[in-house]
């Protein structure tokens, strides 16, 4: 299973499933448009890789890596 946490920089991924974590966090991801089928791209990682900068629906979100485990993706 690949999650967004394993994503390589500047490579396009397609979201397969958003599930598994705290309800509030999953709901927030969904509200922000992280739905299955959506294309995402990691465009930056912090020095210790604790946060990724993710491009989705034409805008940028910085997300803690531990939360990215809940976003299952596949290579596009």
């Amino acid at each position: 299973m690949t999650t967004l946490k394993d994503a390589q920089l500047n490579k396009l991924y397609k979201i397969k499933k958003v599930a598994g974590g705290d309800t509030k966090v999953i709901r927030r991801f969904l509200e922000l448009g992280m739905l299955s089928g959506q294309v995402v791209k990691v465009i930056n990682k912090s020095i210790l890789k604790k946060v990724y900068l993710v491009e989705i629906r034409g805008y940028l979100l910085s997300i803690k890596t531990s939360l990215l485990d809940f976003i299952e993706v596949e290579e596009k």
Binding site: T23, E31, I47, K50, R57, Y59, S62, K64, S66
Partner: protein
């Protein structure tokens, strides 16, 4: 009177619109969660009064952090007649998600699309969009007062509530058919949607017990939340397709980030920016303007003081010369520096850089139980702790919020600038620059250490989420520069004029009268001297057993500006004279007398770390409760005493002995301590319980 709510995504410009509709100047910035509480103000539409309520930004009606909960409660209260839903044109699709949430609940909504940048990501056909949503739609720049005129007119119209959330009908709600039997038919769909969203806050607000909510949620399909979200987004895709033209760029992406978020340059750039700000504030520009103001104030106060000398009453003379003019004028002369610091912090806030700072600091701050988002609160703490403490609401779990609020006062606030400059400058002269930098750094280091200790003991960090949007970089407009400056000048003058003058008069009276109400000069036998003398021995180990210094610190509990003005008063420095105060504290005959550089350093450190002003304490009470405020104050006093003690003794050792032996001893102590920590960690390290043959080192087993 009709209440109108201003609702929208974070950083969509709600407060800017609030300011232009009500002609006020509430704090705005390019960051998520500048507004953390509701703000109300009246405005008129053709003789009819409206009350506009600004709310913290939200993404939907399911709150995640504390400030979002504030908005959620206001929206669900239904005590208003209309909602102005502000959307950011650059991120229209996601902003309209909230609009759908509001419309589904049959709220009376006007959609206002904020065109912040000239080149926006979307171009929208308002007429078509208005048809889709069945509500009025405006595109305007929130800063533009003219454009808001039409909007005001619409507030008078009653909405016909024609919006039908048909896109939700394809969802199968049959699993809930028994759950909401007692709910009226027209409300039932809303309850079903809320249940599918697993919106605990909503059901709690409607009197459901925890257990009932759990039972309710147990019958839902696993992907219930996704069903709702994708139904809305599908509808939004359709809207965007038909009403908008899309520009092909990523909102918030910038070439500056290549450097500012670079592995090697990110931190140097951050420190460079901070250094430039502090250099301009304290030394070049700030110092120049302060000197200018100082000589101007001298021009005014000197003739008044001369006139006062002719009055034959020492009480009157000292009341005016010392309490009302002396100290106040000195602190007043720091106005340029304080205002400059606030100004630079505002520009930093406007720039959008702070989201990047949060990004690069999450790595480190995560380790000590904070979040990258705390950076905003802590940076604002350099300006004023009181307002900064409130922004801790940005956090989404309680422990992080309390921790951030407790750490805030360790960021040296602007009120302490006069103390460092006047008292530090007395002994260290030109090299005071290093002392001031050292003090700021010391405050940060102490805060980080306390955070780590709290994280291990009282306030274990829960899983702090960190989902933060990246806004684009923006320049502060010229119009705003003037506003920021004027606002800060005003608030500084008001503070000096009210709190400081009152406190000065109180300190003057207490130090001029004995317990039997006889007038006394130089404080001998006065009430304050008795109190100060009682407390002073406590301060002997940290280098200042002097009743007047202790009294100044006591007065400083109310506001830190009073420390310097009290010292000026005790030493009888008339008029505005930073240099006179500085030289007086080194004279053994003065009331306030520092025997050595070590005791001055210790005093500065104590001022940096001890209890913040009354306003901050009352803000803490409001935000984190009585228990944690008391704990915070205890920690502050304890830490201030211990650190001052260490600093005093080290400085004293340097003064008494040669430099090198002391330095080498200190260095060996530090090396010993560090190696102890490493040895302890090495012994305590956990072995991996899995014995995989090929260790990938990026272990996914939990």
């Amino acid at each position: 009177m009709k209440e109108v709510l201003l609702v929208g995504n974070p950083n969509s410009g709600k407060t800017t619109l609030f300011n232009s509709l009500t002609k006020s100047s509430e704090h705005v910035g390019n960051w998520h969660g500048v507004t953390v509480e509701e703000k109300k103000k009246m405005f008129k539409v053709e003789n009819e009064d409206y009350l506009l309520v600004d709310t913290p930004g939200i993404y939907s009606l399911s709150p995640l952090s504390f400030e979002e909960e504030v908005s959620f409660k206001i929206i669900e209260s239904d005590n208003y007649s209309k909602i102005i839903n502000l959307c950011d044109l650059n991120n229209l699709q996601r902003n309209l998600y909230l609009t759908l949430c509001l419309l589904e609940e049959n709220k009376d909504v006007v959609v206002v699309i904020n065109e912040i940048d000239k080149k926006a990501k979307y171009k929208v056909n308002t007429k078509k969009l208005s048809n889709f949503l069945s509500v009025p739609v405006f595109v305007l720049n929130a800063e533009d007062k003219e454009a808001t005129k039409n909007l005001k007119q619409t507030l008078k119209q009653k909405d016909l509530k024609k919006f039908k959330s048909e896109y939700l009908d394809q969802i199968d709600f049959s699993c809930l058919k028994d759950a909401f039997k007692e709910i009226p038919l027209e409300e039932r769909k809303k309850f079903c949607v809320k249940a599918f969203e697993r919106n605990e806050n909503f059901f709690k607000l409607n009197g459901y017990s925890d257990e009932k909510i759990k039972n309710l949620f147990s019958v839902l399909p696993q992907n219930s939340m996704e069903l709702i979200a994708s139904a809305r987004y599908n509808f939004l895709d359709q809207i965007i397709e038909e009403c908008c033209e899309k520009n092909d760029f990523v909102y918030g992406k910038s070439k500056f980030d290549k450097i500012l978020l670079n592995k090697f340059f990110a931190f140097p750039c951050f420190f460079l920016i901070l250094s430039v700000i502090f250099y301009l504030t304290f030394f070049s520009l700030g110092a120049f303007l302060s000197n200018l103001l100082s000589s101007f104030l001298n021009l005014i106060t000197t003739p008044i003081l001369d006139a006062l000398l002719s009055i034959d009453s020492p009480f009157i003379y000292h009341l005016f010369a010392d309490a009302l003019f002396g100290g106040v004028a000195t602190v007043l002369s720091f106005l340029p520096q304080v205002v400059l610091l606030f100004f630079f912090l505002s520009v930093l806030e406007d720039s959008g850089y702070l989201s990047r700072v949060a990004f690069i600091f999450e790595d480190i701050l995560g380790k000590i139980g904070l979040s990258g988002k705390s950076v905003y609160t802590l940076l604002m703490g350099f300006g004023c702790s009181t307002t900064a403490i409130m922004t801790a609401r940005n956090m989404d779990n309680k422990n992080s919020k309390i921790k951030t609020a407790i750490l805030c006062p360790y960021m040296s606030c602007s009120a302490k600038i006069p103390i460092y400059t006047v008292i530090g400058g007395a002994f260290f002269g030109a090299s005071n620059i290093f002392v001031i930098i050292g003090l700021y750094l010391l405050g940060v280091v102490v805060a980080l250490v306390i955070s780590k200790i709290l994280d291990m003991t009282l306030l274990k960090s829960e899983n702090q989420t960190f989902i933060l949007e990246f806004p684009p970089y923006r320049m502060t407009s010229f119009k705003r520069v003037g506003k920021i400056l004027w606002k800060n000048v005003k608030s500084f003058l008001i503070k000096v004029g009210s709190v400081m003058i009152t406190m000065n008069v109180i300190v003057f009276l207490l130090s001029s009268f004995t317990f039997s109400f006889n007038y006394t000069e130089n404080g001998s036998g006065s009430m304050l001297e008795s109190i100060g003398k009682f407390l002073a021995p406590i301060f002997e180990p940290i280098g200042f057993n002097n009743w007047a210094i202790v009294s100044a610190l006591l007065a400083g509990l109310v506001a830190k500006e009073v420390v310097v003005s009290s010292i000026a008063m005790f030493n009888g420095v008339d008029g505005n004279a930073t240099s006179l105060i500085s030289s007086s504290i080194l004279l053994p005959t003065s009331v306030v007398y520092f025997a050595s550089g070590a005791s001055i350093l210790s005093f500065l450190v104590f001022c940096l770390l001890y209890t913040p002003c009354l306003a901050s304490i009352s803000m803490m009470l409001q935000e984190i409760g009585k228990k944690w405020t008391v704990i915070a104050i205890c920690i502050e006093l304890f830490v201030a005493y211990i650190v001052s003690f260490i600093v005093y003794n080290i400085a004293l050792a340097f003064e008494i002995f040669d430099f090198w032996p002391v330095f080498l001893i200190l260095l060996s102590i530090v090396i010993l301590l560090v190696s102890f920590v490493f040895i302890y960690k090495f012994i305590k390290r956990k072995k991996c319980p899995y014995n995989c043959e090929n260790c990938s080192k990026v272990c996914k087993k939990k």
